[in-house]
Structures are given as structure tokens and as C-alpha cells.
Amino acid sequence: MRLTPLKNLDRELARFHGRLKAGAAFVALLAATLLAREFYLQVVQHEHYIQRAESNRISLVPTAPNRGLILDRNDQILAENYSAYTLEVIRVQTHDLEATLAEVGKLIEITPGQLRRFRRLLTESHEFETVPLKSKLSDEEVAILAANRYRLPGIEVKARLFRNYQAGPGMAHVVGFIGRINDRDLKRLRESGREQNYKGSVHIGKTGLEQSYETLLHGRTGFDQMETDASGRAVRMLSRIPPVPGKDLRLHLDLGLQAVAEHAFGDFLGGLVALDPNTGGVLALVSRPGFDPNLFIDGVDPDTWKELNESAERPMVNRALRGIYPPGSTIKPFMALAGLELGVRKPTDSIADPGYFSLPNSRHQFRDWKRGGHGSVDLRKSIAQSCDIYYYRLAVDMGIDRMHDYLAKFGLGERSGIDLEGESPGLLPSRDWKQRRWKKAWYPGETVIAGIGQGYHLTTPLQLATATAMLANGGKRIEPRLVQAVRDPLSHVWQLQPTVARGQVAITPAHLAAVREGMMDVMRPGGTASAAAAGAPYTIAGKTGTAQVVGIKQGARYDESRVARQHRDHALFIAYAPAEDPKIAVAVMVENGGHGGSTAAPIARAVFDYYLTGKRPGNMKLEANDATE
């Protein structure tokens, strides 16, 4: 048996002590690692982490401001706010969206339309966004939902501010509407640096004044700085910046006048603009048909949307602003003035009108609307009877370039600068324009028809009204404005909006007087719109016009009674009154109205009557307002 040699215990102990030192060194290394890490976190990166702790802790809860009101010139409400309960769904929080919807449907009534609208909004929203399912809940519905909330995750009942457009379809094109902020709006807000101010907002102005005065109407969003815990529950309020409500708008527009104008259109479609020629204030702005702007606030249901957009009547198009039509004979007063001012004609110059006009070396006949012509025609008569031959010759004598330059001074072919978006500039043709646009030379025949407002020339009712206002005010070019004054919500002080002038066209008084006389003759016996002026206690100066819808072949004649209504000419009428001291200027366009004197002029008359004498059309009920149902 072999003995195991005994170890040297002292040496073993010394080795153990060595191991202890190694162990101690190891521990020191670990401790140094820890302290180095804490040094990095707590000293080097302290600023970074304290900021992250603060942003963990503090959340900004936005408070949306009250939107400004929109009032007519007599402080009649056109757009106002009210608070109502809305049933909203946050998709990401529902376990099973369909089951939740079915459950909600058992508790309160959800119409198929509401469901369709909801589904359309869902496709446009992110899953963590709240999407309204039903708005304006009754007290009973709120109570039922509140009692069942615990079993409906992702369902919320929220008090929201809503917009009510109580002036109805007639004002829709002026006031416009607000709608839910979509991705495009968000992008625009981000690009203009206004995103922060919309943190608590659901809606934004989409059209009309709601769109163009969005910045003023919206106001400034307030923020509550809340301390929140990890679960997002607010623990206490740290500070508060209250919201600043949006500013109220008071319009030049007179809701009563607007209603009268609407009513005067009867079944006809079209547009009308009435201006105060001295201020540029828009007294009425009609585009028929209108639509119910309230449909759009929380998203329109797909069927209604399709119906509105695909309707042949195109109710969503603002005809006063965007409808472009040849000015037809309404161009004649301006042409006459151009002839006088450019020295091409004198007021007394007469021409012989055989009923047609031909260019030299051409056999093509440009005809007068009146078979056989008007006989001897001077300037006044040319306007009063709307003689075409007079203006064919004038146009040829003036030439297209001078014609273009003079008419341009009246803002034709240019945006008027009204405080609404989407205005069409129309088109005032010139040799340059044709070369640029079509790369083609200008033909002399085109000058001839341009003389009576046909051919390429296109205007909007708004443009015609602005030009008419210049005849009324003696050549002052003023930008039309819907908004007269803006009220600060805190000081309650109305601040008048300035009149924006774009200069003055110098017109020889005698020349202007001659044209005005011609326009007054239009309304007198023998004039093209004399019937519309019968019995008026004030003098009207006007001019009729028709804009062709279908081309008429050479040699054919246009017979109003024989064409279908949608192919009838558009009726045009421009006028101002009282002629001696103009207070209102109007341009009326009646789609397929046929003759300006018979359909468009009576509408202007109704507008003048109400504005100048307070008289309403006999068959219009007092306080009747197609607007309010």
C-alpha cells in the first residue's frame, strides 16, 4: 500500500492567500466596471437622460379652440358651433371590430348610412385614430353607452364641438364647410409649420370662407402640461396655456338679399354676384344649385358623395367663382368705352347696319342677331339694342391687341382677388396668347367675333360683376371682399377689413357718360331689357347678353323654342343701380336661360328692389329662407 505524501500546508496556505488576492482583484475589476458604467449614465449622459425622464413624465394635452362664427352684415348667423356627444371608435383598441360594431348596433340605432360613412373614414384613418361612428347622440344613447362601456373596448363617447350651417344650401358656396383633417391637410399644415396648432383639432376648413379664413377662424390651440404616470394617466396639471378662440367674421353679404336672389332664379341654375361698387363688398354671391354643407362635417356617406359629384347639375361647383362663360353682348359697354377712349369712335359716329358684316376680300358674312339689321346705329343705340354689326366693325378698327389691352384694365381675364379660393381667371384672348397657347397666328375673323364677346373670350360672373362695378364707380378697380369686419374674441372689438384697390382706370367723363346713357337706354322702352325695369322707382343701367352653348352653322338660325333646354344659350345680364348714384352692381348668369333680357334681367331687378327699397318679390313668403328648412 502506497502512502500518499502529505502536502506542505504552509505552502498551500500561501497559495490560498494568493488566490484571495486574485479574487479581490477580480471583485475590484467588477466594481470598477459598474462604477464606470454609472459614471457614463449619471455624469456623462446625465443631460440626455434627464430630458428623457422629463418627456416620459410630461405630456402636452391640447385643448382645441372654439372656431370663430360667420355672420352676415346684419349679424345673422351663417356658421356657428354647438357641443354634442359623439360615438367614436379607436380601431386598434377594439379586440374585434366587427363584434364591437354588432354589439353597439344592439344598444343604439346605427343606420346603414352611418355605417358606410364610418367604413369609408376607417379606410382613410390610421388604426390608432378615433373615427366617429355616430354623432349628435341623444342623452339616452349617451347613458346606454356609458353603462356598457366596460365591455366595449375601443368605444368612446366624447363631447365634441360641431359646426352648424343654418343658412342652408344657398350659402354653401360662400361659407363652405369644414371637414375632418385628412392626410393632405396634415401635409399642408406640416409644411406651413402650423401642425402644432392643430394638435387638438379634428376639423379644418375645406371650402369657401371656412377655407380661405381658416387661420383666423381656427384660433390658437391651448395646451395643458400634465404630469402623467407610466400608464398615461394624468397625475396633476403642471401648467396651462388656455386656447384662444378663433375670430368671428362679419360679411358684407346680406342674407336676405341672398335669399331673394336665390328665389328669383326659380328653377334655373346659374350664378350671381352683387357688389357694392364703392367698397368692393360682396352683397350676394349665388351659385345654383347649392348643397347642404352640414353633410360634410363628419365625412359624407359614399352614396351622397357620389350623387353630389356625378350629378349633371354639378352642385359642388361654385359657378359665380369658377363657372366660365363667353361674356357675349355684356362686353359691348366695355368695347364702346374702349372705342371712345382709344379715339377709334366718337359718341355721335353712326354706322349703317344692313344686318351683316364682311371683312374686306372675304365673302363670309358675320350676322347681326336681328335679321335685316338695326338701320343707322350710333353708340347709345348700339348698346341699347345690342347691335352686333357696330361692334364687328369697331373690333376690326381697334384690332385685337388694343382691344385686349383696354379690356384687361377692367380685370377681364384675370382673377378678381376675392377672399375665396379656387377662383377661375377666365380668358381674355390676344394675339400673344394664341401664339403661346396654340402656336397659331391670329385670324382677322377672330377679331370680329371677339367684338361681341364670342370666340375665345371667357369670364366668370364674378369678373363681370367687378368690371360692371368699375363702370358704376368711374373706373376704380377694387378687389371684391366677402368679409367686412373681423372680431377679436377677447376684446370683442370689430375690426374693419381694409378695401384693397388695384388702381384707377382714367376715363374721360364724357365717354363714360355716353356708355352709361346707352346702358340706361337698355332698360328704357326699345332697349333689350326694358321689361325688367318697368315700374322701378330708381334708374337702372344694364346690358344683356347671351352666351352660345352650341355652335350655329353658317346660314342656320338659332331658334330658342326648338332646342332642348340644356342646349339653350346661357342668359347674361350686368347692371348697376341707381344709375345716378350707384349703390349696387350685379352680374347674373342663367344657365340655359335663353335671352338675357327675359330671364337674367328680372333676377337683377329683384335684387335691386330688395337692396334699394326693401321690397321682396310678391310670391316670396316673408322670412322665407330656402335655407332653413
Binding site: 502536502k7 490560498f16 479581490a24 471583485v27 462604477l35 459614471f39 449619471q42 425622464a53 404616470d229
Partner: protein, 366 residues
Amino acid sequence: MPQSSHWIVRRLSHLDGILLTLVLLLLGVSLAVVASASGQSPARISGHLINIGLALGVMVVMANVPPHLLSKVGPPLYAAGVVLLIGVALFGEIRNGSRRWLNLGVMAFQPSELLKLALPLMLAWYFQRNEAVLRAKHFLVGGAMLVVPFLLILRQPDLGTALMIGASGFYLLFFAGLPWKVIFGGATLGAASLPVVWGLMHDYQQRRVLTLLDPTSDPLGDGYHIIQSTIAIGSGGLFGRGWMEGTQNQLDFIPERTTDFIFAVFGEEFGYVGAILLVGLYLAIVARGLVIAARAPTQFGRLMAATLSLNLFTYVFINMGMVSGILPVVGVPLPLMSYGGTALITLLLGLGILMSVATHRQLNKS
């Protein structure tokens, strides 16, 4: 030499004054931080006080068990632990995807906890027994004693505990004199086999490691704990935000903040200076433990004292490293700080053993 009152206390109670002072200091800090982290919850504070009382009682009892008696407990305890681990593998309850628990009818029990003390006791007993005839084969046997429970726990799977138990076994072998060339050879081999180990790791273990490398990859899931705890620690700065003033703590942003993540609360409220003092206290305990080891009269005492000391700091390092975002999240509480009875009792039991080793040396010699 006049006998000081300190010496009398030591003789009568077998308590080591220095260790006791350090432990009481840490427990005091722990009480303050648990109070802050629990939002001064009376239930939490009184529960913690009860745990502290119980654990201190266990420590006093252990301090009075002479080491030679203690060493005899090693083999049966170890054997029981291994048997129970096998029992777990065969009949254990599965919780959260791993089989760690043994249902004893009245209570569920994790046998792996038992091994944390049983393995060092067993090995210390073994090396004391063969102190005079130590040869390479003893290290092989010791290694086998280490590997058996290590593998059993690893396949539960519980990587964290397996590594902790492996470490305690390794420390003991190391202090017993495991040759350096074996250590370095093993380390090289281990590093080379890392890719293989990665492949053997479970999904959730891999995810923990990946989350550690880039916590932002999963800010609301696995990364949340690390992100929030590092924010808390970092926002503490040099001097901390003040007791009960940490917003990460008070507003619930720190998860598990009375238990595993209590250091995040401490770091936020007491800052870098606090962290230095805290690590200093732990280092003082380790230093005292190593001194006790150096002075211990028996091999068993030496090995136990040195191993328990290093073990304690390993726990500290793993916990603080995990909360500070340099180690993966494993469920290891911060010694003497975290709320929780089992861990505290196990720890003070170990410190009781240390005290026993410290105070029984004269007795043993005589």
C-alpha cells in the same frame, strides 16, 4: 491585553461586529429605498421589516453553528438537492415555459435555490476532507459535483441560476487551488465554443441578449425594462433627485422597482455619489469576508468564506449590470437591497456562515 466589550459580544453571540454593522447599514438603505419605491406602502414596508427580522434571526442562528458541524451538512444537502432536481426534471411543474418548480402540496419550491448553498458546502467539505492529499483527480471529482446540478438546472431551462451556481462552484474550485492553466485553458475553450452555445440557447434567452445589445429594437417589449431603468439611473445625475423625488420611480416608469430593479430607484434618487457609496458598502463586506477567509483556521472555513464573499459581489455585479444595461435581464435580486424574503434569508444565511467561520476560529484552535 484587556478584553474589550466587543470581544465579549463576539464570544457570546458569535456575531462579527464589522459585518453586522455593514449589513445593518445596507438594510437601512434598503428600507428607505423600498419605502420610496413602493410609494410608502405600509404593507410593503412592514413586509420588508418582517423579512429583515426573520433573515437576521437566521443569520444569528447560523453564526452560532460551528463550522465543523456545518461542513457535515454539505453532503446530505447536496444529495437531496440533486435528487430534487432530478425530481423536477421528471415531475416538475411548468411555469412560464420552464420546469423549475416542485409542488410540495402546501408550497411550490425551486430546488435550484437549495443548490446555491449546498454546492459550495459540499465542495468545501470535500476539499477539506482531502486537504492533505489533494491531487488532480480531486478537481475532476469536484468538477463533476459542479457539472451535475449545473446541467440539470440548465435544461430546466434556467440559464441565470445555472450560471450563478456554476460560478459559486467555480469560485470554490479556484480557491481550492484549481491550476491557472486549467482556468485559462477552460476560458479559451469556452470563448471558442460561444457560437455553439448561442445555437443551443432558447429563443427568449437569445432575445434577451439581443435586446441588451440594442434595447431600442423593442422599446415596448423586452427593451422597456432596460430603457426605463437606464433613464432612471442617468437622470439621477451626480447627487440624485432626492429621496422620494425620482419621477421615473414615483410615476411607475421603472418596472419591478422594489425587487429586481431597485437599483434604478436608488440611482435615480441618490445619484452617482450614492452609487459609489453603495458599491463601497458591498466592497467593504467582500473585503471583510476575504479577511475572514484569510484568517480562517480550517480549509472548510477558508473556502466557504472566500466563495461566499465573491458570490455576493457576483450577485451585485449581475444585478447592477443588468439594471444599468450592460448585462442581459436575468432574475437576480440586488443582495440586501431588493424586497423579497427568500433571497434575503438565503443571503443572511450565507453571511451567518461567514460570521461562524470568523468567530469560531479561536474555539476551533483550542
